[in-house]
């Protein structure tokens, strides 16, 4: 049986790891390759790297950062941020990413998902969705949460999977950085709508939050702040998950 994946996330800007609460107030938290190697040592099942650079120079740096991380990392690496066309994804895959996620660009031009899936396979194509709740409805937000698209997040996930996305990286804008737990209703609704795996993101503080997300339908669990502040190592989190009855890789 497939085990649940614990996925530490590195937000990287200009080659350095930063961490933000609600994507703003970023602060430096270390070198990507060092953190990546440490996470693998602790038992991370996969690593996510999100490039939050705002400039073309920063994007170029991101490719080099992926190379540096790949050299030390022997578990899968999901890379996202600034992927506007399938060429961008190709550069990241060539540098050593195993999967590439697209977010805003896919909202603006959904065919990007088809193109990536056709060229690299669904296994490499991840659709990242940032969702925010407005009056009981989940809406897709973009540009680091500053822009409401009007699109229904559940319908967008369904369309993304139909277009060839092999995985949905689902972030709750309402919960991101709050440590109040994943948005379980959002996970449930998307899990019911798509056949592909779902990585839950936004709001995790402890093992109980992760176990709840698994019950809601997530098969991957992304977390950043818990690990960066060294509140809990991946190994400790896995131990706690096991005691809650969640099967994880030893």
């Amino acid at each position: 049986m497939l085990t649940v994946r614990i996925i530490p996330c590195l937000d990287v800007r200009d080659g350095r790891v930063v961490k933000g609460v609600r994507f703003q107030n970023l602060r430096d938290a270390g070198a990507p390759a060092e953190l990546a190697a440490e996470y693998e040592r602790q038992g991370a099942d996969e690593l996510a790297m999100l490039d939050v650079s705002a400039t073309p120079e920063g994007r170029k740096t991101a490719v080099q950062t992926v190379k540096d991380v790949r050299r030390v990392l022997a578990v899968p690496m999901l890379v996202g941020g600034g992927v506007r066309q399938s060429e961008d994804a190709a550069a990241l895959l060539d540098a050593g990413a195993d999967k590439v996620s697209t977010n805003t660009a896919a909202v603006e031009r959904p065919e990007l998902i088809d193109e990536m899936a056709a060229r690299f396979g669904s296994q490499c194509t991840v659709l990242a969705i940032d969702a925010a709740e407005f009056e009981g409805r989940f809406e897709v937000v973009t540009r680091s949460g500053t822009h409401r698209t009007g699109s229904d997040a559940v319908a967008w996930a369904r369309q993304g999977a139909q277009r060839g996305a092999g995985e949905i990286l689902l972030t709750s804008w309402d919960r991101d950085g709050t440590r109040s737990g994943y948005h379980l209703e959002l996970i449930e609704r998307v899990a019911d709508a798509v056949p592909v795996p779902i990585i839950a993101s936004g709001g995790a503080e402890n093992a109980r939050h992760l176990a709840e997300a698994v019950r809601a339908g997530a098969t991957g669990l992304l977390a950043a702040s818990i690990f960066h502040d060294a509140d809990l190592t991946v190994a400790e989190l896995k131990r706690d998950l096991r005691s809650l009855g969640v099967e994880v890789r030893p």
Partner: protein, 204 residues
């Protein structure tokens, strides 16, 4: 680890970076190539693969690699096929009806069924038959939607479960074909590659 150069087949659809990084960590010299002579003569060969079955076979046909690959696998020369690379060993896949694979292992790949998410994405536990020399039990990383379920005659297998039992890997002589990604399976995967290196007689 030193020893003879490992040729990594450039199938065009595959991402070679993770495979090359794993070999570098093992200290094994490696070179990507899609030259038929390299493929035929390589002391060791890795056949990676990501993408669709039909597209990958088209590429192998265009590069005239089908026969060299068949010959070396039939001869039991050190060959490690990964993910789609393993699937290409079989006759056919439901992913690309109308295409034929290398056909060195009989059978047809079918899509996962049952109450599971597809693609299978993540770490699953494999169990290896006692007759395996390179494969052992442990946790490995998968990213696939299609799989074989019947052990081809003459091969030894490791199996896992995702909506039912499936072939996680098969081995025969110095040929190992893994549905999972040893290069992404942490220290367990690196140890597997190291055993594959040692089976063919290279120094480790």
């Amino acid at each position: 680890m030193t020893g003879p150069e490992t040729i990594v087949v450039r199938t065009g659809t595959a991402n070679l970076a993770s495979v090359l990084a794993a070999l570098e960590r093992l200290g094994a010299p490696a070179r990507p190539s899609n030259d038929p002579t390299d493929v035929e003569r390589a002391e060791r060969l890795i056949l990676p693969g990501v993408g669709a079955f039909g597209m990958a076979m088209d590429r192998l046909q265009a590069d005239e690699l089908v026969e060299p690959l068949r010959r070396r696998i039939e001869a039991g020369k050190p060959t490690l096929a990964i993910c789609l690379g393993m699937q290409l060993l079989f006759d056919r896949s439901d992913e690309s009806p109308g295409w034929t694979g290398l056909g060195v292992a009989p059978g047809t790949l079918r899509r996962f069924t049952g109450n599971v998410r597809i693609p299978q994405m993540g770490w699953n536990r494999i169990v290896a038959e006692n007759s395996c020399r390179i494969l052992t039990g442990g946790y490995v990383y998968f990213a696939n939607s299609y799989r074989a379920t019947q052990t081809p005659p003459g091969w030894s297998a490791a199996t896992a479960d995702h909506g039912g039992a499936f072939l996680a890997a098969i081995e025969r002589d110095a040929v190992v074909a893994c549905q999972f990604h040893p290069e992404l399976s942490g220290s367990f995967g690196l140890a597997l590659i190291r055993r594959w290196f040692s089976i063919g007689g290279a120094s480790c």
